[in-house]
Amino acid sequence: MNILSLSRSDLITLICFIIAVLSGPVILEPFGAGYPDLLQKFAIFGIFAIGFNILFGLTGYLSFGHAAFLGVGSYTAVWTFKLLSMNPIPAIIFATLVGGAFSVIIGYISLRRSGIYFSILTLAFAQMSYNLAYSVLTPITNGETGLQLAQSDPRALDVAFGRDYGAVLPPSDLFGIEMTGYPGFYFCATLLIICFFISMRIFRSPFGMMLRAVKSNQNRMNYTGLNTRPYALAAFVISGMFAGLAGGLLAVTDPLAGAERMQWTASGEVVLMTILGGSGTLLGPVIGAGAIKYFENIFSAFNETILLNAYSFLPESLQHMMASVSSLFVGEGWHLTLGALFMLIVIFLPGGLMEGFRRIKGMIGRIGGGGDVSSKSETAPAE
């Protein structure tokens, strides 16, 4: 034990995580992912998925509506920019709190049911929020155009501290450091590390154990003197706050908010990230989020010309046929690839990429003459 109250192996995991995240720009350079816009997305969606995993990975409650909190976080952050200050700190604090407040309401109602009914309720709420953002709430959300900054915004705190951005629309800035590019990434990365640490502490705490008990046997919990619903609600609200924070950070790195962030496809994406990486594991959701954002970036960048070039070694008729078939899976159609990838993972690696890593580790152990490493790695807790 140490000042961080972590076990030795957790401490090592945390240190490796910090090093990997901070050196992200260097490590990911060879993969063509070392540029700030994408790195920011990795960090932000990593936070989103870490939070989602506290709900889904620990308690087993599968929410299909978490994008609602992401969207709420973004709107809140942009409003904070407009009304108070372009400093990202108030923006993310309010985004987290408002995300939490929304999740108290939606969670309280949705958790009256479990299983598929819970999922449907959360989905319904998210779609409702999405539609409201486009209709009656347009004074707050600015409807289809999306909520943007304006020169005429009051920015009360900035004014009070004598900060004048002049005639240009300002980006968010942390005491003079603009939250775009690498500074923007390092701001998000710091929060990712903090969120990862919080999640680690929750996983190892008595509270985390109770959340896993919720997933395992609610009946036994009740007859053991534990009230299951507040535990599930607490997990729901924590994950809602993480989502609100992630939404706030999206607005920090790019100060606008639109309702499409709340659409059900965005809710589904975080489910995929968590399952792809390995739900219920500490690192899995971050890896899943990174993997999906990375492939999204690659596949959606393809277009007809690039495809034709790629198949230029083929005879012309075949070249066009291959290109048109492949184009189904790239660009706008990249979700088809995502779906196929997801199916492969669920069928062959139900524990996600983390299970894949464990299996590889086990295989290497066996080849290296290490007796029954594989059976050990199977019974090891899922981290």
Binding site: M1, S5, L6, S7, R201, I202, R204, S205, P206, F207, G208, M209, M210, R212, A213, K215, S216, N217, N219, R220, M221, N222, Y223, T224, G225, L226, N227, T228, P230, Y231, A234, T379, P381
Partner: protein, 251 residues
């Protein structure tokens, strides 16, 4: 006055009268067995003690508190623990965690967001749980996942989960049902040890050897009605019991 008093309890399921004017008085520190043919209403009666079912009429009073309308987790917090006919455990968690959870429930109440302290630092609760696992001979498996245990081991684990809470009243529904002979004997020995420590128990049991060697008093339930209640020796010779329970065969 006993620690658990049941007065004129009735329970209907549609047209079926599952409990018919049941009266019971369980005394502190005793083992009270409930026997009766299948479908007599034994499990239904136990369900009325833990908040799983609500009697249509009548009263159930535990330790001065009426149990009617109280949810299961609050009844447990009053000091009632229950072992189910099919073991209810946390199958995805380790044995140690299975026993630590009820210990936390006893210490921290029905809900506490204890999200910042490490389980690894909770040595008091962990030691308590380990001692309990030793008592039921499962200490060597403390790090295994509970779902893979044999039926008998699951039952003993469930007993440890109940006992770690130091319940004032322990309810057991057919604790040896569906168990292999060796497991049955183990479980009986364990229940005897528990009884010798003065834990008040209500046991539903089919095995007559278990009942007569364990119980201080026996109630016989038939078609939802208590047809006899007495000490084991008297119950053995009661012709009504033999009639109802064994179709006239001799005990």
């Amino acid at each position: 006055m006993g620690i658990l008093t049941v007065n004129n309890v009735n329970k209907r399921f549609g047209g079926l009268k599952a409990l018919d004017d049941v009266n019971l008085d369980i005394h502190e520190g005793t083992v009270h067995a409930i026997i009766g043919p299948n479908g007599a209403g034994k499990s239904t009666l136990l369900n009325c003690f833990v908040g799983k079912l609500e009697p249509d009429t009548g009263s159930v009073v535990f330790d001065g508190t009426s149990l009617l309308g109280i949810p299961p987790h609050k009844i447990n917090q009053l000091g009632v623990s229950r072992v189910f006919q099919t073991p209810e455990i946390f199958g995805d968690l380790t044995l140690l965690e299975n026993v630590m959870i009820p210990a936390f429930a006893k210490r921290d109440g029905s809900f506490k967001v204890n999200g910042w302290s490490a389980v690894a630092n909770q040595s008091e609760v962990r030691d308590q749980a380990m001692v309990m696992l030793e008592d039921v001979n499962l200490a060597s498996k403390s790090k295994e996942t509970a779902g893979h245990l044999s039926r008998g081991d699951k039952r003993r684990l469930e007993l440890a989960m109940c006992l770690v809470q130091k319940p004032k009243l322990l309810l057991l529904d057919e604790p040896t049902a569906g168990m292999a002979r060796a497991d049955t004997n183990n479980t009986i020995d364990l229940m005897k040890t528990i009884a010798s420590k003065g834990v008040t128990m209500v046991v539903i049991e089919h095995d007559m050897h278990v009942v007569f060697s364990l119980a201080d008093r026996i109630s016989v339930l038939a078609q939802g009605h208590v047809i006899a209640e007495d000490i084991p020796d008297k119950i053995k010779g009661d012709p009504r019991v033999q009639e109802a329970y064994l179709g006239g065969a001799h005990l």
